[in-house]
């Protein structure tokens, strides 16, 4: 736990506002509480300086009124640092880390497609992972998006949940 505690202490020393918002619950893991976009952008270069040279992936989460983006950094020695960036659902703007970590491109595109995040600085490219005809404004991974209300034939999201479909969907789940 030595390294983990050292890292936490270093972060708190450099960013006093992080005190109490960053912890190491077990060995090899460091988590933060949600931080804003500005705070996150300052934490990233510091993390790199602490030896966390790789980002394994990004987890998008629906935190109720805000969207969460956990960037999981790795230092190659097994310690994972998860920086939890947060942005309000009404305006989920964050900055892409692809300039420094080009391997994150698809992870961040996924945030755009599935959570409706606005990731500034993503290079141009095809969408991922949803198909091309997907209706705009539908973000499947948001908690309020109900898969039962999505009509696959017409590729539209119904205003009201279909009553009849509910019965057959239940049967499908039982199977």
């Amino acid at each position: 736990m030595e390294r983990e505690n050292e890292v936490v202490a270093a972060f708190v020393a450099a960013f006093p506002w992080l005190d109490g918002r960053i912890r190491s619950p077990r060995k090899k893991r460091i988590f933060t509480d949600p931080v804003t976009r500005e705070e996150f952008n300052r934490l990233v270069p510091f993390a790199l300086g602490q030896g966390f040279r790789r980002v394994t992936h990004v987890v998008g989460t629906d935190d109720g009124d805000s969207l969460g983006f956990l960037y999981v950094f790795s230092d190659g020695g097994g310690v994972l640092l998860a920086l939890h960036e947060s942005a309000p659902k009404s305006n989920p703007v964050i900055d892409s880390l692809t300039p420094r970590f080009p391997g994150l491109e698809w992870h961040e595109r996924e945030l755009v497609d599935l959570y409706g995040a606005d990731v500034r600085g993503l290079p141009p490219g095809p969408r991922y992972p949803l198909p091309d005809g997907w209706p705009a404004g539908n973000y499947p991974m948001r908690k309020e998006w109900d898969p039962k209300r999505f009509n696959r034939k017409t590729m539209t999201y119904e205003a009201e949940p279909p009553a009849a479909a509910a019965g057959s969907e239940a049967k499908h789940e039982e199977r």
């Binding site: 988590f31 040279r53 790789r54 394994t56 992936h57 994972l80 994150l104 698809w106 992972p129």
Partner: protein
């Protein structure tokens, strides 16, 4: 051949080189690849949403099916994560059995890969021989888990199935047979001239790029990056059964081949050590249905590399968020870099050397007909297929009736 005009050919979504749908739109100048646009969609996106409306026990089955070949690593990572959240320590015997099945899985996955690599370069003899050996492993896995893939050995809190002495004998005799074959494959890889001609210098990924793109698994280890999770962050019984990770520094398809074959040899050693040291104990401990609130990141070493899962629980028996990052996801960007400047003939083997695990996708199908574009879902596609065959004298619409 016109060299002033570039040719764009679609490799995928349907192509004999790919076992699952993905599209590589390759732009060629003669035989050299100038550009490639990669298009993939994964199943576990829909899977993650599905997990949020099912209990942890049900999700175990979903997570296991993210991939057919590395299913055990996914379920291991999942169970580990939940056990950590619940603060439960599983028995040593369960850990050993998880390792045993993990290594068996690595065996059959790498053998599969070796065969596919051979097939991609037209070396079908290698393909047939490695898959024959793979059958031996699958037989053992079928006996251990009840199924050749998706073996369902894990349970939340331990394992569901035990290794009895008879199975142990069968595993040992299988490892003895396989050892000779795998030693031969290593010798073949080192000495065969066609393999050398087709693998060396192909799909080169310099170490700096490997780190930049964050590739994992045998692809990274062929660049000398020691990232084997079994060593970096030992899980299950890997803290007791030490694994010697294999690295190489060829940085090309040849290096990846060597790494995988040597990992096969190492897996055999670990399997034997596991059987030798198998402790007694219960298979499963109780884990409460409601998992305490918290978040956890769980890692395992799949045959293809680091498999990392994020699980967030909210105190109920239904997860708040499950994010599965399979190793192949990390390797796609590196793959594009590898293809630049490569020959067309090398594209299939470059794709294959990454050992990508696609998993099929429930996507809409776009049909470009004479009258514009139309999206079909599976029902419509099936109806279309039935009509098509009916017009040619084959009525397959009755098949589903018979199955009911």
């Amino acid at each position: 051949m016109k060299n002033d005009k570039l040719v764009t050919i679609p490799i995928g979504p349907e192509h004999p080189a790919l076992d699952e749908p993905a599209s590589f739109t390759v732009t060629l100048d003669g035989e050299k690849v100038v550009d490639v646009v990669v298009g993939v969609g994964y199943n576990h996106r829909g899977l993650e949403k599905a997990c949020e409306s099912r209990t942890y026990a049900q999700d175990l089955f979903l997570v296991e099916r993210v991939c057919g070949i590395c299913s055990h690593t996914h379920s291991t990572a999942y169970c580990q994560g939940l056990e950590e959240l619940a603060g439960v320590e599983i028995s040593r015997r369960a850990k050993y059995i998880r390792v045993l099945v993990s290594e068996l899985e690595r065996l059959h996955s790498h053998l599969l890969w070796l065969g596919v690599a051979g097939h991609e370069i037209g070396f079908d003899t290698l393909f047939m021989c490695t898959w024959r050996d793979r059958e031996r492993v699958l037989d053992v896995l079928a006996e251990a888990g009840g199924n050749r893939v998706n073996y369902g050995v894990n349970a939340i809190g331990g394992v569901r199935r035990d290794i009895d002495p008879e199975l142990e004998t069968r595993i040992r005799s299988m490892t003895d047979v396989l050892e000779k074959e795998i030693d031969y494959y290593l010798e073949l890889a080192m000495t065969d001239s066609v393999l050398a001609a087709r693998f060396k210098g192909v799909g080169v990924l310099p170490r700096a790029d490997a780190e930049k793109f964050g590739v994992v698994g045998p692809v990274a280890r062929a660049d000398g990056i020691a990232d084997d999770v079994r060593v970096v962050e030992p899980y299950a019984a890997y803290d007791e059964l030490k694994v010697n990770q294999v690295t190489d520094d060829h940085c090309d398809v040849f290096g990846r081949t060597i790494v995988r074959i040597k990992e096969l040899q190492e897996s055999l050693r670990v399997i034997r050590a596991c059987l030798d040291g198998m402790p007694e104990g219960p298979l499963k401990v109780n884990v409460p249905r409601r998992i305490p609130k918290g978040e956890v990141i769980s890692r395992t070493e799949a045959p293809r590399g680091e498999n990392i899962q994020y699980i967030r629980s909210n105190g109920t028996d239904i997860p708040d968020r499950i994010r599965v990052r399979a190793p192949s996801e990390a390797n796609w960007h590196g793959m594009k870099r590898m293809m630049q400047g490569a020959y067309l003939a090398d594209v299939p083997i470059i794709v294959a050397a990454n050992d990508p695990c696609y998993s099929c996708t429930d996507r809409a199908v776009v049909v470009r007909g004479a009258g514009g574009r139309r999206a079909m879902d599976w029902e419509e596609l099936r109806a279309y297929g039935v009509e098509w065959y009916r017009g040619r004298g084959a009525d397959i619409s009755r098949v589903e009736e018979k199955l009911k």
